[in-house]
């Protein structure tokens, strides 16, 4: 077996992932059929949407939620749970 042709990669040849949170750059936007839209005038900053997003696609800012459209998969949990209707559902590509 011509294994001398296979270079030895040391640590790089070991199946580990060293960069924490490297999935943040992966674009899941193509999964969406609908997207959440925030209406700040109705927002009471209760943090429910931020807490319940399964993909951490909502960043919490002093002004309320900020939707990360790279990570958002369009599950609509945030829209469903928002108690004031400050998050509404809109079709992708609208």
């Amino acid at each position: 077996m011509r294994e001398e042709a296979i270079p030895y990669k040391g640590i790089e040849g070991i199946p580990i992932i060293r960069e924490p949170g490297s999935a943040a750059k992966v674009n899941r936007g193509s999964w969406r059929l609908v997207r959440p839209v925030h209406h700040s005038e109705k927002c009471t900053k209760c943090k429910i949407c931020y807490t319940y997003c399964p993909d951490a696609a909502i960043n919490w800012t002093p002004d309320g939620p900020e939707i990360n459209l790279t990570s958002c998969k369009g599950c609509m949990i945030c829209v469903e749970e928002c108690p004031t209707g400050a998050l509404t559902e809109e079709k992708e590509g609208a």
């Binding site: 924490p20 490297s22 999935a23 899941r28 319940y52 399964p54 993909d55 949990i77 469903e80």
Partner: protein, 301 residues
């Protein structure tokens, strides 16, 4: 040790990002995000083969903590090894936490779990229970409730009930190991994170079973993950309680349980359960709830 009183107290720093290949609306994925807020980056998550295994996919991971994936039946023993390895090196303040599905916990990994609990290893074992083998497409496990359809307990002419086996009482079994055991629901994140917070400080084994609402398996619109997680608690399908030193503490008590019909209608896995199956299931839930009420604040196991 932190004690959270409301959502507003939950730490804002996340050690979990988006970009994983988990389903949109995945309950277990949300559970891990929440858990990591309390556990922090000096944590090793030991994962059993299951849905969560595919959160990291080389070279990407949504975690800002460490992760070891061994096989399906050995998360608890791997965790024991990691725990003692860390302690030997003076890293007692790092957390060792198992995040395993119900199949890996109730079935194939049961011996491994039981021994780790029996030895009171200083680890937190979180079982995300989607009441099936989810990652392989939703097959029956011993955590699948009576009346739920799965791919290996499908409803048919000979068997309209689907799953006609009544579950073992896993919480009581874990309580009998003389460790801390509790249930949790995604719709009650303050309760979940308080339990986790206390588990972090405990000098022994903690078992937390989180109802992992599963949009793909249970067959419901992903937006309903939290509503279903809440209704499960309100109708007694998933009571929130804990057992410590054999004593039962019912965390969320209600004067009356909601009937299960609304809960069943929301999910495709229950929709075709015939009326006598629904009655049997309601009776089982009522029985369990009555037992919990009776033994609340008393010696239970």
């Amino acid at each position: 040790m932190q004690e959270f009183k409301s959502l507003k107290d939950i730490p804002e720093q996340d050690y979990f990002t988006g970009g994983s290949s988990a389903c949109a609306g995945c309950g277990p994925s949300l559970g891990l995000k929440l858990a990591l807020k309390v556990l922090g980056p000096d944590t090793i998550i030991i994962n059993s083969a299951g849905c969560m295994t595919l959160l990291p996919l080389y070279p990407n991971t949504p975690l800002k903590a460490s992760w070891i994936h061994n096989a399906i039946e050995n998360a608890a023993s791997t965790a024991a090894g990691a725990r003692h390895g860390l302690d030997n090196m003076g890293n007692e303040d790092m957390n060792v936490v198992v995040y395993a599905g119900d199949g890996a916990t109730y079935d194939i990994g049961f011996a491994s779990l039981s021994a780790a609990a029996a030895k009171n290893e200083r680890i937190i074992y979180i079982c995300y229970n989607n009441q099936s083998y989810g990652n392989t497409g939703f097959q029956w496990s011993t955590a699948t409730p009576y009346g739920s359809e799965t791919k290996t307990t499908p409803r048919g002419k000979e068997n309209p009930t689907g799953t006609n086996i009544v579950n073992k009482d896993m919480l009581k079994i874990m309580g009998a190991h003389r460790v801390y055991a509790a249930t949790a629901s995604l719709a009650y994140p303050v309760d979940f994170l308080n339990k986790l917070s206390r588990a972090k400080e405990r000098d022994g084994f903690s078992y937390i079973e989180l109802l992992g609402a599963c949009t793909a398996g249970w067959n419901y619109d992903p937006r309903l993950t939290i509503k279903i997680s809440k209704l499960a608690v309100r109708c007694g399908m998933w009571p929130l309680y804990e057992i410590e030193h054999g004593m039962l503490n019912l965390n969320k008590d209600f004067s009356e349980l909601k009937p299960i019909d609304e809960f069943l209608k929301m999910q495709g896995r229950y929709r075709a359960l015939p009326p006598d199956g629904v009655d049997r299931l309601q009776a089982l839930i009522n029985e369990h709830w009555a037992e919990l009420k009776e033994y609340n604040k008393q010696r239970y196991v």
